[in-house]
Amino acid sequence: MRKSDSSSGRAPYLLISPTWLVLGLFFILPLFIMLMISFGQRGTYGGLKPIVDLGAYLLSGEFLANYRQTLDPLYLQIYWRSLWMAVVTTALCLLISYPVAYYIAVVAPARRKNLLLALVVIPFWTSFLIRTYAWMLVLRTEGLVNSLLLGTGIIDAPLSLLYNEMAVMIGLVYGELPFMILPLYASLEKLDLTLLEASGDLGANHPSTFWRVTVPLTMPGIVAGIVLVFIPSIGQFVVSDLLGGAKSMLAGNLIQNQFAVARNKPFGSAVAFELTAVVLLLLMAYAWYTKRKGQEAML
């Protein structure tokens, strides 16, 4: 797909021009505007403070003030928590999804595969926001879990399951799970099962076969799943907003707050731009990985 066909001239470029138009108008241009804003200063009533002398503003280094502010220990703690939450979410998703995907792709009888895949996809029919609200109903003090535990007499007083990091983690893992299962399924489905038999034939027991054959051969799916889960997780704000307490603020919430509550667009833009940079770096690393492996990207 990478080879360009010289005989067809400009036709391919014309054909992908709508994509470029959409990307340019709704992605690259806003990103550029955001970058510009991040160099500005907050006006008294929100908005931007007008710059009187651009030369002096640039020379004084004042345009980097927002970026300097993002390095405040208070914020660093938030980034660190976001990163940590995203890493744990991704790891948990991988741990839960691999057996699920393996079951659907390898173990389940062929006639049941489509049904199982449908079950993975069906939650998408409901808005993510609504599904996250549903978790509130499940986890709150009078919620499903507590009523069950109280009703069966396992506990005497309701547990506080909501508004903590655990609740955020549950929400994140729940929401991202399909994005891990599907790419894993795609690469497990292509796995030639005789290779597993060959491995056993050559003396490898099941764990050995898993690490030496199954994992290396499904690495494209694993990497794609990690990228697909990690990126939304690190920018997530809805889940932490609804299920988290004051102490579980993530980078996404910080950005949202700057725009919606603090009305400090320049600072919000700076944080958002940093986050975007992290995500872009990750995507570039992924592109490098697929190119090195000579595989087609799954994203």
Binding site: T194, E197, G203, R212, L217
Partner: protein, 370 residues
């Protein structure tokens, strides 16, 4: 056969998949150091039987004993056998050397020693210089060699081969058949080879088990299976589809007199004492043993049957004649083109002729044989 000479002992092994019985009460003794083939059409159970020896399928019933050890329920990685898979099953993420060395660590051979052994195996299959290539960069024949080297590197007591030549073209196939046979002879290990190609089985095997519908129809030395098929299925499968029906007239001095549609009685040597007069009997004659004449030739005890010529097909070495007897049965006759029938030029499609053969070439099917 002494039990110490037995490499693989299969005792009443059965394998069912739901209602379907793939392997039905099969018992076999495979000798140490022999080239043994499981031959049969697709679906006859030969691959299932091989996979049970390898440990990839567990028998529904029966026992598999390898070198005196009951392995019936052992997983593949605990059996002293290795397999060359039909699709070769080379690991695409490992280069040729790592493929061949894959299992050595489980035999406690690591590092330089493993590399040396893997290289030695690649030498053995004449694939030296390919160690850094990856499987997708190899041709079918090269992959087959690597798969063989990988299995042999494990120094198995028994090597299982599941139609490993199926993906090769005709010419290469013939070459590899000879190579495999020579390799087996020099290594002296037991080869169990699965194929649906009777010529391939005959070329390489010491003994052949012909399988049909989950059962062994005949187990004999290769030339025995070819020359003396015991059942109609085996005869058909070995390319002798010329069936005659007769009746036993009498048995005397080891000779069985058969009456049939042939003009004269046929005297056949028999060692079997199960036959009685008036028993119906089926027999075959191989196509290359049949002759076409213009006259009924009974001079030296030959048997003749009058037939109508339906077709002749030139095939290079042979000309194939298809003829039909007056009872409607169809027969195939091979005429060697370098030794043509005496009156070959006088036969026309649609004409009449006499099909004759030496009674020695009559092969009687087992009593109550299928």
């Amino acid at each position: 056969m002494n039990d110490t000479d037995v490499s693989v002992k299969i005792v009443e092994v059965t394998k069912s998949f739901g209602d379907f019985t793939a392997v039905n009460q099969v018992s076999l003794d495979i000798r140490k150091g022999e080239f043994f083939s499981l031959l049969g059409p697709s679906g006859c159970g030969k691959t299932t039987l091989l996979r049970m020896i390898g440990g990839f399928e567990l028998p529904t019933g029966g026992q598999i004993i390898i070198n005196g050890q009951d392995v019936t329920h052992l997983p593949p990685y605990k059996r002293p056998v290795n397999m060359v898979f039909q699709s070769y099953a080379l690991f695409p993420h490992l280069n040729v050397l790592d493929n061949v060395a894959f299992g050595l660590r489980y035999k406690k051979i690591t590092g330089a020693a493993a590399t040396r052994q893997a290289e030695a195996m690649l030498d053995l299959v004449r694939m030296q210089g390919f160690s850094q290539r990856f499987p997708p960069q190899l041709s079918g024949g090269q992959r087959q060699r690597v798969a063989l080297a990988r299995a042999l590197a494990m120094e198995p007591q028994v090597l299982l081969l599941d139609e490993p030549l199926g993906a090769l073209d005709q010419k290469l196939r013939k070459e590899v058949q000879i190579e495999l046979k020579n390799l087996q002879r020099s290594l002296g290990i037991t080869f169990i080879f699965v194929t649906h190609d009777q010529e391939e089985a005959l070329t390489m095997s010491d003994r052949i088990a012909v399988m049909n519908q989950g059962r062994v129809e005949q187990l004999d030395a290769s030339h025995q299976v070819f020359e003396y098929p015991k059942t109609e299925f085996v005869a058909q499968f070995m390319g002798a589809p010329n069936f005659f029906t007769g009746v036993v007239k009498n048995i005397a001095e080891g000779l069985m007199h058969l009456g049939s549609r042939a003009d004269s009685d046929i005297r056949v040597r028999t060692t079997s004492d199960v036959w009685k007069p008036e028993d119906p009997v089926r027999f075959v004659v191989r196509p290359e043993k049949l002759d076409l004449r213009t006259k009924s030739g009974t001079s030296d005890g030959e048997v003749s049957v009058e037939v109508t010529i339906e077709d002749r097909v030139y095939q290079g070495v042979n000309t194939v004649w298809v003829v039909r007897g007056d009872d409607g049965a169809r027969y195939t006759i091979y005429e060697q083109n370098d030794r043509p029938f005496q009156e070959s030029s006088r036969f026309r499609v649609g004409g009449r002729a006499f099909m004759s053969w030496n009674p020695r070439d009559t092969v009687v099917m087992e009593k109550n044989g299928k």
